[in-house]
């Protein structure tokens, strides 16, 4: 089946001022690969600051003016140009933004969620609000009267109302209780089951894998592994990349044991594999060059030794 979204070797860099007058290009995403097929929920997990949210901005064309984008993005087989992004976002491609500050502070959240559609989808919206556990009367509140978790649920409802073919959800669950988060994820799953697609960017790996078909693991601005979600449920041994394994083992329910060290900075990345400095299986070959993505057991891994 043709993927609804295809991303090949995406590069994003920012032109930043250094000290004084000098400028340099800071590569924040590099060699990023991801594809999403209709009917799929693809979870994007990985380290904080690995560029997960930037991916969302890149897909929707919402990067700031000092960003340069390279590589290829295709939506339904056609290149995703800036013009097309502008046309599609909000209708065919919807976003659940990460920050609750994306709500208009001067507009009650009910009409805000309805948007410019006419007639206003009042009934559908009320059903969504109540499914997400928003108390009756929430629609008449202004954003500042909502708690963080409520605002997130309003954002989720707003994005679902767009009736889009592709939904990009950027950290939709923080602040929600477990039940509410599960309900939101169930809504996403239902959307995918109707033949549409969801990219779910999240830290809550354990929650996400219960609903996702595949998981893309990000580290330092690139994809290090793409695995069937079942492998995440199976355990660290089923995963292919040492970072994914370390991430799995660090989760509270799986041992809570962190590996030492920290993610390298954009602009200060190692020459070879980005994970090499922290990797227990590092060899000289890892430091020589960036390993390519290669297929392993129905997934993909960017590691010379992942199996």
């Amino acid at each position: 089946m043709q993927p609804i979204l295809e991303i090949q070797d995406l590069r994003v860099s920012f032109r930043m001022y250094d000290r004084g007058l000098a400028q340099r290009d800071l590569a924040v995403l590099s060699d990023l690969t991801l594809s999403v097929r209709p009917g799929e929920v693809v979870a994007v997990a990985g380290s904080s600051g690995s560029g997960k949210s930037l991916l969302a901005s890149a897909i929707l064309g919402l990067l700031p003016a000092n960003a340069t984008v390279g590589g290829e993005m295709r939506y339904k087989g056609e290149p995703l140009t800036q013009d097309r992004q502008k046309r599609l976002r909000g209708s065919e491609i919807a976003l659940v933004p990460q920050s609750v500050q994306y709500l208009d502070p001067l507009m009650k959240v009910g009409p805000q969620a309805d948007g410019h559609r006419s007639p206003r989808p009042v009934e559908t919206r009320r059903r969504l609000f109540s499914r997400l556990g928003l108390p009756e009367g929430t629609e008449k509140l202004y954003p500042f009267q909502l708690s963080g978790g409520m605002a997130r649920r309003v954002l989720v409802a707003t994005a679902l109302l767009a009736d889009a073919q592709l939904l990009i959800a950027d950290e939709p669950t923080p602040g929600m209780s477990l039940d509410q988060a599960l309900e939101a994820l169930r809504l996403f799953r239902g959307m995918a089951d109707e033949g549409r697609a969801v990219v779910l960017i999240t830290h809550d790996v354990d929650l996400a894998v219960a609903f996702a078909d595949r998981v893309a693991v990000f580290y330092a601005g690139t994809t290090v592994e793409i695995a069937p979600a079942a492998d995440f449920r199976a355990g660290a041994e089923a995963l292919r990349h040492p970072y994914s394994q370390a991430l799995w083992r660090a989760l509270p329910q799986n041992g809570f044991v962190p590996i030492p060290g920290f993610q390298p900075y954009a602009g200060n990345l190692p020459r070879g594999c980005v994970f090499a400095p922290r990797c227990p299986r590092r060899t000289a070959a890892c430091e020589a060059g960036v390993p390519p993505m290669r297929p392993v057991r129905g997934g993909e891994v960017r590691c010379l030794y992942g199996a």
């Binding site: 904080s48 963080g148 602040g175 929600m176 799995w248 660090a250 962190p258 590996i259």
Partner: protein, 198 residues
Amino acid sequence: MALEAKNVSFRYGRRGPFVLEDVSLRVERGERVALFAPSGRGKTTLALLLAGYARPQSGQILLEGKPLPETGVCPVQLIWQHPEKAINPRWRLRRVLEESGAIHEEDLVALGIERAWLDRFPRELSGGELQRFCVARALCSGAPYLILDEISTMLDGITQAQIWNALLEAAEARSLGLLAVTHNPALAQRIATRTVEL
């Protein structure tokens, strides 16, 4: 030896709905309490009240039986969910730490803070790294009680485990009283000696 909220009620403004109504809670020193509640139930507000950032309309916040001191270093320190807002964006991180007094080398090591980070500006570090600084700042202040408002919600699993392991070690060694707001039952089980539902 405890931090307590006694029949606390709070609302924003004079006519807003009550965010907290008649809530009581007690955290002993050496105890680690996980606080669960559905969103919109006033967890963050309770955290703010306990750390002295706001005052309840009725009820009391008591530390060792007395109200929280108004001046000086507050013996109850709050660590915020969004570290980037709790750090002055124009300050180098060394200065951020120094604001709470002397920098303790062993806290930096335990939290995995690199020496080189001290000379950087906040925008040059990721959320996970900044949160380590917020934790270090709270620990360096010497406060016996820490309130942690979903401090690792926005962090990846490895960073979360790093920060929490360091925190738990410090809490053990200094017999701190911790109150952690969280939504993650697995995390609560790891970190808490007791859980409370609001």
